[in-house]
């Protein structure tokens, strides 16, 4: 006889006095029954009660395990930065839902984690949750879930090295299931890729390719490692046919995808959420070990004085150590050379990243095998130099998986203190007086408009052909303590003194010795705060001597082609600038402007036949120099020029050759520096002897003399030293000493092209000195002056112009006026240059002097200057068979 079945509810709800627990158990039991009706757990229901209870428990623990795992995933992800290779599946449950499940079961399951407190760090929360999960999983199938998350916790807490060690130990000690092995292999590969150990990750996966074949996530990791190593074919083959992945891509791969769009298909996935991942760097993140990035070179550099890069930390692969010294020397001053990465990072104050595209090594890389290179700037944060580059972090890798630029900049910033301390150049606290830029009240500090440099720069601004209605230009001279405004012009942005920008573009042009431009408003870069675009053009001659800044009220007013063209003209202007500097110095020291025109080196056709090599040789050392020329050919000015070029800070003393014993005294008292001995062939024997003794004891040598104690002799003569010796005017030993370096100043008749400039110079000078208006010489007057023989050279011309200014100040001056003044001076002016057998040089000089602005020859005017009719000129040109190159302007 069968017994009636007991009440099912009584069977399953014994000893549960609390209503809530009873209700909970009923609910759970009904849930079980629901499973049973679907046929999923029918077996369990048919079993006896203990098994039913076990089933109940298993469901609860399963649910809790999933909830705790979801919480762990969320908190651990928050600890990993956006560059990390995370191949975890998305959490099964949302944050709130997971905590709700934990709360639901808190009464019946012990040791569940408490809800996070305010501000509790994610890692602490994760630690508590993991402990609960491990207790929950002990002896149950939640155990493997706990093991997986313990590994992930190790990575989040200790970094990829710690994570990798944990997973390797697990694989070694435990015979894992297929699933656990798959996860562990993926985690190790991820940790290796996090550290840039691309080849190691690839090898790790190649040894487990049977798992790669089974799992799309592992296939993706392998593909990324192959891509990072530059093996695009293998990367492509590995993911062929796999479903397109829509997960989150590490930030570094997103950037790689942007830089190499041809790899788009190999790098599918979403960008990481900007709010996800760890943003800040921690003390342990400071880069000092290139192994943390899989790099072959890791270095931190400070931008030192003279724009040199001073290495503060440099970790290189062993195979590259031998090249480090040479590489540092080659790269010294690289930030001043265009097309180097150092230049780009200093000029833009932004990270520079580049990836190799073919077999050509990356420019300037220490590691010739590097596939990727990055420089992350370290910026000043305060003071006048805020936002400027104080140094940079440099990384070179033999793979493409560089950290993202955001991460690199964060890492670079951990070296800021040391870099700022080491950066000697423009300090944040430097006293960069705004008045130097012409701001504020010190407008008087702006140079005089008659300053030759101001005139030269104004002429340059005009020659650039820029329309000034919407623009303004400034010219700054670069002095040791900063740029100083010399000249300005233009129709726009006139209130720049009231609205000054930080003028960083000028600073950067000085720092990098190259042109810079900006095409959007940036008050850090511009001289005028409201400028919408602008450019800065440095004038470089050895060092940056001046900067021309041009700004516009319109955006994008300067195209790259314009910048290049202007920069080229500024470069070509450098010699004229240098002459202007000499003239300004001459005015300062001798109260007199001069004309000096280097002209075409060596051709002797109207220009100074002062070959740059000769001048450079004269300036380099302190060997005596002889300047030979007819009287009145400005030998003393050339001598002063040599002093200016070589040791302008040392004393300069001029001793006339006829000084006699007084000259000896002057010579012996000279403390060093340059002594110009004028007309040395007229010096007495005593003076010549004293000269020889001085040369022996204090002079001579071809090496530079930075101390300035040596005596540099520059002697002027009206004949070559050898001839003076033969004529008995010069001691033989003195003649020999002077013959070592001889420069010749040609007579004015051999450099007629300079006559118009000399006339202009003297006219201005004398008008200024005498307080008169300048006379205006017409072309006929000028031509008349041009064609004279000038046996007295520049001096005679100077005297004539002086009289012209006195007599005709402020008037139009024609040829008759010139003749009249010359007659008073006792000069007989010739009407023409002899045309029968003219000097070839005169023909060429006439054609060059009268060339049109476009460069075309003006034969009519040339004939006027020669005093001929045009047909005669044409005939003489034909006879002389002038070549095109003879008439070409010097470049």
């Amino acid at each position: 006889m069968t017994q009636p079945p007991p009440d099912v509810l009584e069977l399953l709800l014994p000893g549960a006095p609390e209503l809530q627990r009873r209700a909970q158990r009923v609910t759970t039991f009904l849930r079980l029954l629901l499973h049973a009706t679907r046929g999923e757990r029918a077996d369990a229901i048919r079993e006896d009660l203990p098994d039913a209870r076990d089933e109940l428990e298993r469901v609860v623990y399963d649910r809790l395990a999933i909830a705790l795992a979801s919480l762990l995933d969320a908190h651990l992800r928050a600890r990993l930065d956006r560059d990390a290779f995370v191949v975890w599946d998305p959490p099964a449950l949302g944050h709130e839902e997971a905590w709700a499940i934990v709360e639901e079961h808190r009464a019946e399951v012990a040791d569940l984690p408490a809800v996070p407190g305010p501000g509790e760090p994610p890692l602490e929360v994760a630690r508590r949750v993991l402990v609960s999960l491990e207790r929950l999983g002990a002896g149950r199938h939640a155990g493997p879930i706990a093991a997986v998350h313990a590994g992930r916790f190790a990575r989040a807490a200790g970094g990829p090295r710690a994570g990798e060690a944990h997973w390797r130990a697990l694989l070694k000690d435990v015979a894992p299931s297929f699933e656990l092995e798959r996860i562990a292999v993926a985690e190790v590969a991820s940790c290796l890729l996090d550290r840039g150990q691309v080849q190691a990750a690839r090898t790790w996966l190649e040894e487990r390719m049977h798992l790669v074949a089974c799992d799309a996530g592992l296939a993706r990791l392998y593909s990324w490692s192959a891509l990072g190593a530059g093996d695009v074919d293998a990367a492509r083959e590995t993911v062929r046919g796999l479903p397109t992945w829509e997960g989150v891509l590490p930030a570094r791969l997103v950037e790689l995808r942007e830089r190499r769009p041809e790899w788009l298909a190999l790098l599918p996935g979403r960008e990481p959420d900007t709010a996800s991942g760890r943003e800040s760097v921690e003390p342990g993140d400071r880069p000092s070990d290139r192994g943390d990035f899989g790099a072959s070179v890791l270095g931190v550099f400070a931008l030192g004085p003279a724009r040199s890069a001073e290495p503060l930390m440099l970790d290189v692969a062993p195979g590259l150590k031998r090249r480090v010294g040479a590489w540092l020397r080659e790269g010294d001053g690289a930030c001043t050379l265009t097309r180097t990465f150092e230049h780009e990072v200093v000029a833009t104050a932004r990270p520079v990243v580049t990836h190799r595209r073919d077999a050509t090594p990356l420019r300037g890389a220490l590691d010739r095998e590097a596939r990727a290179l990055a420089l992350a700037p370290i910026l000043f944060e305060r003071g006048e130099e805020e936002g400027e580059v104080a140094g940079w972090l440099r990384i070179e890798c033999a793979h493409h998986l560089l950290p993202s630029t955001e991460r690199l900049v964060q890492l670079a910033a951990t070296w800021r203190e040391e870099v700022l301390a080491a950066a000697h150049g423009v300090r944040p606290e430097a006293d960069v007086r705004p008045a130097r830029f012409g701001h504020g009240e010190e407008e008087a500090a702006v140079a005089d408009r008659n300053d030759p440099r101001v005139r030269a720069l104004t002429a340059l601004a005009g020659e650039l052909g820029i329309k000034t209605a919407q623009r303004r230009w400034w010219a700054f001279e670069v002095e040791p303590d900063g740029p100083r405004l010399l000249a300005e012009g233009g129709g726009a942005l006139t209130d720049w003194r009231d609205r000054p920008g930080k003028a960083r573009a000028v600073q950067r042009a000085i720092a990098t010795r190259s042109a810079l431009f900006f095409d959007e408003p940036d008050e850090r870069l511009s001289v005028h705060r409201g400028a919408a675009s602008g450019l800065a053009l440095p004038l470089v001659r050895g060092r940056v001597e001046a900067v021309l800044a041009i700004e516009s009220a319109r955006r994008r007013d300067f195209r790259a082609a314009d910048v290049e063209r202007h920069a080229e003209r500024v470069r070509a202007f450098a010699p004229r600038w240098h002459v202007a500097c000499f003239r300004a110095w001459h005015v300062e020291h001798f109260v007199q402007d001069v004309h000096i025109d280097p002209g075409t080196p060596g051709d002797g056709e109207g220009g100074y036949p002062l070959r740059p090599a000769d001048v450079a040789a004269a300036c380099r050392g302190t060997a005596p120099v002889a300047i030979v020329g007819e009287p009145g050919t400005s030998k003393e000015i050339v001598a002063r020029w040599i002093h200016f070029e070589s040791q302008r800070t040392a004393p300069l003393r001029t001793i006339p050759g006829a000084a006699g014993s007084g000259g000896v005294a002057l010579l012996n008292e000279a403390p060093g520096g340059t002594v110009i001995l004028d007309e040395v062939e007229r010096a007495s024997g005593e003076l010549q002897e004293a000269l020889v003794l001085s040369l022996r004891s204090r002079g001579g040598g071809d090496r530079p003399d930075p101390s300035g104690r040596r005596l540099r002799l520059v002697a002027t003569l009206s004949m070559p030293p050898g001839e003076a010796v033969r004529e008995g005017r010069l001691r033989a030993d003195l003649g020999r000493a002077l013959e070592r370096l001889v420069l010749t100043t040609p007579p004015l008749r051999e450099r007629r092209q300079q006559i118009p400039a000399l006339v202009d110079l003297f006219t201005r000078r004398f008008a200024d000195e005498e307080g008169l208006a300048e006379p205006a010489l017409d072309d006929g007057a000028l031509a008349l002056l041009w064609r004279q023989p000038w046996t007295g050279n520049v001096r005679t011309l100077e005297n004539l112009i002086y009289r012209l200014v006195l007599l005709h100040g402020g008037q139009e001056v024609g040829p008759d006026d010139v003749k009249a003044v010359a007659r008073r001076q006792g000069l007989e002016l010739r009407k023409r240059i002899p045309s029968r057998h003219p000097d070839r040089r005169d023909l060429i000089a006439a054609l060059k002097t009268t060339r049109r602005g476009s460069g075309a020859l003006n034969k009519t005017r040339a004939a006027l200057y020669l005093g001929w009719d045009p047909d005669t000129l044409v005939a003489r040109m034909r006879d002389a068979k002038l070549a095109d190159w003879e008439l070409r302007e010097p470049e």
Binding site: F178, M209, H210, C214
Partner: protein, 321 residues
Amino acid sequence: MTQPTDPHSPPGAGAVPSHWPRVDGPDACASPSPRPPEPPQISAAGEELASLHRNDLVGLLLEASALRAQVAPFALLSGTPAALPSPPDWTGRALDTIDRLAKTRVAKRSRATRRSGPRPVDPEILLLLIGVDLHRWPASSWLARAALAAQDSNGARLCLGRALLAEGDTEDAHRVFVDLLRRGVTDELRWQVFEGIAFGHEQRGNDRLALVACEAAGDAPGCGIGPLVGCLFLSLVLGEAGRARRAAARLDLLVNPDSPAFARELAKLRLRVELFRGGLPWSAPPSTAALLDELAGGGRSAAEEVGRTLRGAPDPAPREG
């Protein structure tokens, strides 16, 4: 024996809810007269017999699935099945099984327990197939799922994976195969699982992962001929001469070139190249062209047979066995 009543069921309903545990046979519900209880030994024997019959039915369904897979669109990629009966043989066995089940009390018990016990295998399913042309059978994967529902086993899952491959559903097939690896399989099944994974990759155009999976199959003890042939062929496709040589050496070591099974694999290879690789004669990439020439011009080893097949040599005479 009084009839148990359900205190929660409406009065006069009489029927016992199906989810209630049974302490008596289901017929006790339908029949008003009580039945005497069976002795325990008889019950145990009955359960055992029911299990055996279930096994027979599931086995027939799996064979049906495999037979159906042979005529599915991508049949040649579905792997190396165990020896299959011919359709007439299968039909005869199915009829016998149906007949046997119909005559036994156990069959009645099985029918009666279908509502409350494990999902039964309805022998009538087999009747759907008997007398119907093979091409008109339900899909191979459907048949495999029916068998799987009746009795979950790794063998049934493997059969399902192959069925999905044969039908061209490579993604679901891949999931089934990987799930098998997660569950843990014997060596005998392991190589077949990796063979299936390899075919799936090859079907999707990923020869590299296909080769890797083939090699994993080849490394498993008791590996069949299919993966060994696959390793050689895919190595040649990818231009990996070193791997191809190793695969050739292994093939020669393990496979008798005269075996009918090898002949079947060569036939499958021939079809595979004709359908998916541009036809015969097939050309290897430059890095493995010389090796293919060497194999095709050699003697009669298994690897050389593969070489000649790829070069378009005619199908040799059928082998006995």
